[in-house]
């Protein structure tokens, strides 16, 4: 894997996520950039905002090629408005209804992601 300045400089937490991401990039098929990216974020706390404005905070358990997301130990931000979610602890969210996935800033190396996206776009064009 190509090491960037960030990774070599310190033994920071970013190192592990990046290495995982790089490994996934090499292992996975060509057009699976965000699938690999999400796989490297498994176990982290994320907030998934759906297209109907429902925001669900939870731990990312797994993701698949359609970017369906499975969250464990969820916590709905505006619980009063969505009473049907009150009895639910783990959930599976269909990829097509997700608007945003909010990630903790220190878990993501944007440089790496940007480089990977650039490489992907380049290979796709060819």
């Amino acid at each position: 894997p190509r090491f960037t300045g960030n990774v070599l400089a310190t033994g920071s937490q970013i190192y592990n996520s990046n290495l995982l991401f790089e490994t996934y990039l090499y292992i996975s098929a060509l057009t699976m950039l965000f699938y690999s990216f999400f796989k490297s974020l498994i176990g982290k706390d994320v907030v998934v905002e759906l297209k109907n404005d429902l925001s669900i905070c939870g731990t990312l358990h797994s993701v698949d090629q359609y970017l369906n997301i499975k969250l464990t130990d969820i916590n709905v931000t505006d619980a009063e408005k969505y009473p049907h979610m009150m009895s639910v602890k783990n959930c599976f969210v269909r990829g097509s209804v997700v608007r945003y996935v909010q990630l903790p800033a220190d878990e993501v190396d944007t440089q790496l992601l940007q480089d990977a996206a650039r490489r992907e776009a380049f290979t796709q064009r060819q």
Binding site: N52, N68, K70, P83, M86, V88, K89, R94
Partner: protein, 127 residues
Amino acid sequence: AIMRIRPVETLVVYLRDGRTLIGILRCIDQFANLVLHRTIERIHVGKKYGDIERGVIIIRGENVVLLGEWDQERARKSGLQEISVEEILEAQREEQQQQQHQQTLRAKFMKERGLTLTPEIGPDDMY
């Protein structure tokens, strides 16, 4: 990998038109098409809810928003109150009327200012 979902567990299924179905998942495929057994449709209005028996249901995957695992602990702590079907339908009708009313008011105000209000979402597809 993610589809290795437990076969005999009660699931809460939230559909795109806003309906909530609770039942035992029997089958699932890669499109999230579902077969639910002993399903009830649960209508929520405020803190109250009412159940309607639906039996066996097949759901086309594109209409699914999310599947939740029914957690008895959380259900108990939720503080929701069950009422009869007639009452909940009445409450739902009232709520819908209120929303309609607000919508018409909003449209009127916008029109007075020379703008048109086009709702992005309709009642049949909230997503």
